[in-house]
């Protein structure tokens, strides 16, 4: 779903409980993460409920980010679905230019990004940002060679 559409949908929900209700549905609709990708390397640290994140650049031209993820927390899974919608298909440079706090504030979900949450979602966000930064510098080096 497009971000604008999602924003409109969430804005129509009068309180946070209803927004979480909607996010739970998003999590349920998320394509399952291939089981072979759920391992120690993809496990997200700092989570109360186990969560996994895997991804990198895809084959498209120019190469774009593509992440898959999962969590035993239905809410974290739903929040990841939003994250995937924001970042997947973007080049690393485009991803780095995104102001995620602004995106989540507009969705009425600002508190989900609080580092205090320790629900694994914050760690997912950090990992995606780090991956985007390192891929961006790699592609920059590649193009300069």
């Amino acid at each position: 779903m497009e971000l604008e559409q999602l924003e409109k949908r969430l804005a129509g929900l009068s309180d946070r409980t209803l927004r979480y209700h909607y996010i739970i549905q998003l999590g349920r609709r998320l394509p399952p993460m291939p089981p072979e990708l759920k391992n120690g390397d993809t496990m997200v640290r700092g989570c109360m409920s186990p969560a996994w994140l895997s991804g990198g650049l895809d084959e498209s031209e120019p190469p774009a980010l593509r992440f898959v993820g999962d969590s035993e927390s239905v809410i974290v899974k739903g929040l990841f679905a939003i994250l995937a919608g924001v970042f997947n298909g973007k080049t690393p440079e485009e991803a780095l230019a995104i102001d995620l706090s602004d995106v989540f504030d507009r969705l009425g979900l600002g508190e989900a990004l609080s580092p205090n949450r320790r629900n694994g979602f914050y760690s997912m966000v950090e990992q995606i940002r780090r991956a985007a930064a390192s891929l961006a510098s790699e592609t920059a080096l590649g193009s300069g060679a």
């Binding site: 409980t17 739970i24 239905v74 809410i75």
Partner: protein
């Protein structure tokens, strides 16, 4: 005859300005008291008044403000000693909180009593604050940690404890009340077991005991008792270690600096007497003043009344929550055996998701391991939801918790 006066909860709530607010449009229900309690106006005003009129450094100046600050600080020590029914104010060592009090206990007992091959008894019920300091000590001195096991209803297994006590036991360190299970431990009875079978120092982590139960150091039968102000309506950053005079006199200093010396030479120093021997540096004077105000506040209400109020909330919560399909409450089933802590899990509904939805409903609880990973390991759980009550919580709030849990479970299970 029952002489415990009932708590006037509406009047109590009026003393806590923070409770009167909405979260996302819904009235705040604060049920994270085992993590930290809220502060009444009386405590906030005492701290403010101290800074407005009396502050200076303690024990040093000859001027009026230094005198007033010292009187406030030492007066607070006397008040806390009375509140805990200690024999003298010299038995109260100020610390940053229960964690520092337990670190102080572990460090100083490590210097004076624990050697290679000696044994330290803890339990699988410990908050990490009463576990990690002893692990550090065991690693430092080559001592051995022994763990009291838990029964399936979340009590200390006293047979397991009895089997661990012996001539090599130097320290027995246990919680008065479990922060992760709510269990009130039979600490006086355990004290008698410890004395019969060993010459160990008996240390109690009172972080969850002091705020909720009438305290009487003579009755508890321990040698050291650690507690924090912030869980008993006082400010953060202050707490105390109560110690038997003879033991405090035996223990070496914890940290070096001003206040704790008798005389300083070029290559060594001599120590002043307890409690100041353990209090290097400028202390948290305003914190002590705030903790005194908290103890006075609780004393005015009566700790027996506070405990009875919490017990009635716990009884109501146990009844309402156990009606939720698939919900399991950890810890003893009898309300009289537990303090105001209710940890629970629900089939097919992750603890953190329940807590997130409760937060959206304005209900503050905690989800996780509650700094007591051994407890969760014992029950094979990754996390629990923990609701914890205090003197200002109401039966209506317990009802809202139960409704919130039902709502969360129905959303998560669809």
């Amino acid at each position: 005859m029952d002489t415990v006066a009932a708590l006037d909860v509406a009047a109590v709530r009026a003393d806590f300005p923070i409770l009167d607010q909405r979260v996302d449009g819904k009235p705040l229900v604060y049920l994270d008291n085992a993590a930290s309690s809220q502060k009444p106006r009386q405590v906030i005003e005492a701290i403010s008044a101290y800074y407005m009129t009396d502050h200076a450094n303690v024990h040093r100046g000859v001027h009026e403000l230094a005198r007033r600050a010292t009187e406030a600080y030492e007066g607070a020590r006397e008040r806390i000693a009375r509140w805990a029914n200690a024999e003298s104010a010299d038995e109260i060592v100020w610390t940053r909180g229960a964690s520092e009090a337990l670190n102080l206990a572990a460090f100083t007992l490590g210097q004076s009593r624990v050697g290679a091959g000696d044994e330290i008894v803890v339990s699988d019920m410990e908050h990490h604050s009463n576990l990690v300091p002893w692990q550090l000590l065991a690693a430092r001195n080559g001592a051995v940690l022994r763990h009291v096991e838990l029964t399936s209803d979340g009590r200390l297994d006293l047979d397991s404890l009895a089997s661990l006590l012996g001539p090599r036991t130097r320290v027995v360190a246990l919680p008065h009340v479990s922060n992760a299970l709510g269990t009130i431990n039979p600490v006086a009875r355990i004290g008698r077991m410890v004395r019969e079978k060993s010459s160990a120092a008996y240390v109690l982590d009172g972080a969850q005991g002091a705020p909720h139960l009438p305290l009487d150091m003579a009755e508890l039968g321990c040698d050291l008792y650690a507690f924090s102000a912030h869980k008993m309506c006082g400010p953060t950053g202050i707490g105390a270690l109560w110690g038997r005079s003879a033991l405090l006199a035996e223990l070496p200093p914890y940290q070096g600096g001003g206040e704790m010396i008798a005389h300083v030479y070029r290559d060594h120093s001599t120590w002043t007497t307890p409690p100041h021997k353990f209090e290097a540096g400028t202390p948290n004077i305003a914190g002590a003043v705030g903790m005194q105000a908290a103890a006075e506040y609780l004393d005015d209400l009566g700790m027996a009344a506070v405990h009875r109020h919490e017990s009635s909330l716990v009884g109501r919560a146990l009844a309402l929550l156990s009606e939720v399909d698939g919900l399991r409450i950890l810890g003893p089933t009898a309300p009289e055996d537990r303090a105001g802590v209710i940890p629970f899990v629900v089939d097919d509904a992750p603890a953190q998701d329940i807590a997130t939805i409760l937060d959206a409903e304005g209900i503050a609880v905690r989800a996780g391991h509650h700094c007591a990973q051994l407890v969760l390991d014992r029950f094979g759980l990754p996390a629990t939801v923990r609701a914890s009550f205090y003197l200002y919580n109401t039966p209506d709030e317990v009802d809202r918790l139960a409704e919130g849990v039902r709502l969360a479970v129905s959303m998560l299970r669809q």
